[in-house]
């Protein structure tokens, strides 16, 4: 295997380490994990994890995992996606996976930029941002990933900052153990094209909200971190098994 090819100082290292820790804990409890990733810098994580994996195409992690989970319901399946991968090209899949409450976990590496193609704007880049594809400033408004997921029906929605590895590992663990669609947005600085490590001074943690509406308000501020929302609801797989057999 090649050595890790992320830029030194990349937020992805922290996600990798935190996930290794969280997955270790889950496996020690006797579960099997399989992962998948899309296209972009984040996607390389499949190669770096010592777990069954499938590095699929751009944006397509949620339907792939849905099919895998249906074929082997005992697996805990986790997908890594980027802001470009999950919210530009693959937004449709994320919305529907959340709506179905498919029992999968999606970890979204949000660095606000297309890193691997040298810094173009994504769906989470701020309006006005200049990049090679937007030399006069980004004409689009950004999307708030957690709000989108809450509105779509996700039953576990959280945000963490890549700097806070311990907390991140804890949230990953909870997301994997949650039965239903879990979504964790990781604010992941890109040292080459969108370095926001300084955000550490501004990040603040909030407690779980009691309702989706409260959670929506809570995560409005992109610096807010924590598990915004969690509820138990029948999963897609359970509903499918019940109706088919």
């Amino acid at each position: 295997m090649d050595r890790i090819s992320w830029c030194p100082g990349c937020g992805n290292f922290a996600i990798l380490r935190a996930f290794e820790k969280a997955s270790q804990r889950v496996m020690e409890e006797g579960y099997d994990i399989a992962v998948s990733s899309g296209i972009g810098c984040h996607g390389k994580i499949s190669d770096y994890l010592n777990l069954p994996s499938f590095h699929v195409t751009h944006g397509r992690v949620p339907p792939f995992l849905t099919g895998l989970k249906l074929a082997n319901p005992k697996l805990i399946v986790v997908g890594f996606s980027g802001d470009g991968d999950g919210l530009n090209e693959g937004a449709e899949h994320l919305v529907h996976a959340a709506r179905r409450n498919t029992d999968i976990t999606i970890i979204l590496h949000n660095n606000g930029v297309f890193g691997l193609t040298t810094g173009q704007v994504t769906a989470t880049s701020p309006k006005g941002r200049k990049s090679k594809s937007t030399p006069y400033g980004n004409p689009e408004y950004p999307i708030n990933a957690c709000q989108l997921m809450l509105a779509s029906g996700a039953t576990f929605v959280a945000r963490v900052f890549a700097r806070e590895q311990k907390k991140m590992a804890e949230v990953f663990y909870r997301a994997m153990k949650h039965r239903g669609f879990s979504f964790v947005e990781v604010l992941q600085p890109c040292v080459s094209f969108n370095n926001f490590w300084d955000l550490r001074k501004e990040v603040f943690w909030v407690e779980k909200a009691e309702s989706v509406y409260e959670a929506m308000r809570m995560c409005e501020d992109i610096r807010a971190c924590g598990v915004f929302y969690a509820e138990e609801k029948e999963t897609y797989e359970d509903a499918v098994w019940k109706s088919t057999f």
Partner: protein, 532 residues
């Protein structure tokens, strides 16, 4: 005997065609039912052509021995084809020398039944006037309709049989009862017999009936995701998980699947795609048949990788080939396309399905410390398969034997060649699977593919031509033919014709691209026109 039932969308024309087909099947005839309908739910014009013969048939006919009209305005559209009896409501006042009229509408109203029962009334008028026993009609109606509709419709049959006293023919039992199946059912059954566990499809005519059949079958899980892209990605997910999965769509949906077909080729994931062609380009004529997507099916995605494409000749053949392709996809770990048509998926025929078996493939599923050598370089190109929890790594990127991403020139070249070598092995396997059908009747030939086969075979036998029909398109095996050659296809440029011409065959094209399938009469007319 060739019977057309015509009316508006919402009149139950399709159902009436199926029921009449079942009645003929019950009497021992070989039956083919063609459904022509518009992309609308109410109104307009729909027709169902039911052909029955003592000989085995796989096509409907052009001229009608009987025309059953459920609306007065549809008569005009069909009058030219009618060479026999018109059956319609007494109030229509239609002009035709041989006709059987019955107060269909009045009877249904008097019995206080929904309008849709008029189709059963009309079929009953046909059956009574052609001497079919009421019990045969009743038993088919009972078996075909749900419990709630059953009694009411039996009532209609009784009312017609009691009050109609005309005889215009005698349809006799000619043998043991035969089952009527649709192309969609045959395709579904073939996949199930080959071990299908998951079917994912976004509704798209004319592939949708396969989804309906499988959704109601507890032998597999059939789901309707958000798009065709999601459908094939779910299938790839299930196959990575070690379970057989398939998807079904038409041209537009197949276009969306392109990227994932390439992924399946690269990651060596078996997946079967049912491509049911309809008239294009773009939305085209959604409910009309075509054979325009041959080149698209053969070259559906970026990069080079082994792909298996086959096209069934009949509904029965669609059962065999769908099963065969699912087996081949798993044996060679690569995508396969069943290239078929609306004229197969939405038509019905009498057939006995059976013979497809699942050929088991070894799948390693144990937990392990070592990464599984999923893409081991082998002579045949086929490597061992594994599914989680085995430590197996699959990849859309070029990869080494363990599935790790690489751009190393040597490894990449070797891995690419390994995948491509599977193509040679597939060709060896396909050579033994009747890649084309040949029937010798004379020195000159009619060549075709897909559903035209039924009509072509009949004409060729009558006129003394040999028949060649291509089943496997990739790898492509072309028949060795000489003499005068006709090629029959439902497209504008002659897509199969071009392949034959590249082999030096001189041929005459018999083509249509109006969304309608060929009948034997039309092919005969074309052949005669060329040979005049």
């Amino acid at each position: 005997m060739n019977v057309c039932i015509a009316g508006a969308a919402g009149d139950g024309i399709r159902g009436a065609g199926v029921i009449l087909g079942k009645i003929f099947g019950e009497l021992g005839y070989s039956v083919f039912v063609y459904q022509e309908y518009q992309s609308r739910i109410r109104g307009g014009h729909n027709a169902s052509v039911v052909r029955a013969s003592e000989k085995e048939i796989n096509s409907h006919g052009y001229y009608y021995d009987a025309l059953i009209c459920l609306r007065d305005y549809v008569f005009e559209k069909h009058a030219e084809r009618l060479r026999g009896v018109l059956i319609c409501d007494s109030s229509f006042g239609l002009e035709h020398e041989a006709k059987v009229e019955f107060p269909i509408n009045e009877t249904v109203e008097r019995l206080n039944l929904p309008d849709i029962s008029k189709n059963i009334a009309a079929i009953s008028v046909f059956c009574k006037s052609f001497g079919i026993e009421a019990e045969v009609v009743k038993s088919v109606v009972r078996e075909s309709l749900g419990k709630s509709a059953e009694e009411q419709n039996i009532e209609v049959v009784r009312a017609v049989y009691e009050n109609l006293d005309i005889s215009v023919g005698q349809i006799r039992r000619v043998g043991e009862g035969k089952e009527l199946v649709s192309g969609a059912e045959a395709i579904a059954e073939g996949m199930l017999d080959a071990g299908l566990k998951f079917y994912y499809a976004y509704p798209m005519t004319p592939a949708t009936p396969i989804l309906h059949v499988l959704a109601a079958d507890s032998r597999c899980v059939a789901l309707q995701p958000e798009s065709e892209i999601a459908a094939i990605m779910m299938a790839i997910g299930s196959a990575f998980g070690g379970e057989r999965a398939a998807v079904g769509t038409s041209g537009g949906g197949f276009a969306l699947m392109s990227e994932s077909i390439s992924l399946a080729g690269m990651a060596e994931i078996p997946v079967l795609i049912i491509l049911a062609q309809r008239s294009g380009p773009s939305t085209g004529m959604a409910t009309f048949t075509a054979q325009q997507d041959l080149y698209f099916a053969l070259n559906p995605a970026h990069g080079e990788f082994p792909l298996i494409v086959a096209s069934p000749l009949t509904i029965e053949d669609s059962y065999r080939l769908s099963g065969e392709l699912l087996n081949l996809a798993w044996e060679f770990q690569t995508p396969a396309v069943l290239l078929t048509e609306k004229h197969i998926t939405e038509s019905h025929t009498t057939a006995k399905l059976g013979g497809v078996v699942k050929r088991e493939v070894e799948i390693f599923r144990e937990r392990s410390r070592e990464v599984f050598r999923r893409y081991e370089i082998t002579e045949s190109g086929v490597s061992p398969y594994a599914s989680p929890p085995a430590l197996v790594k699959a990849n859309s990127n070029e990869h080494d034997e363990y599935g790790f991403t690489t751009d190393d020139a040597e490894i990449a070249a070797e891995m690419y060649a390994k995948r491509m070598r599977k193509g040679e092995e597939i060709a060896k396997a396909v050579a033994n699977l009747e890649p084309y059908v040949e029937m010798r009747n004379g020195k000159d030939w009619i060549v075709t593919w897909g559903s035209n086969f039924g009509a072509v075979k009949e004409v060729a036998e009558e006129m003394g031509y040999s028949v060649a029909a291509v089943r496997f398109m990739r790898p492509l095996f072309l028949p060795k033919i000489s003499g005068e050659v006709f090629c029959v296809e439902c497209n504008y440029s002659g897509l199969l014709s071009k392949f034959l011409e590249a082999e030096g065959v001189k041929l005459k094209r018999i083509l249509r691209w109006d969304g309608r399938p060929f009948t034997p009469e039309e092919i005969r007319r074309e052949v005669e026109r060329w040979t005049e």
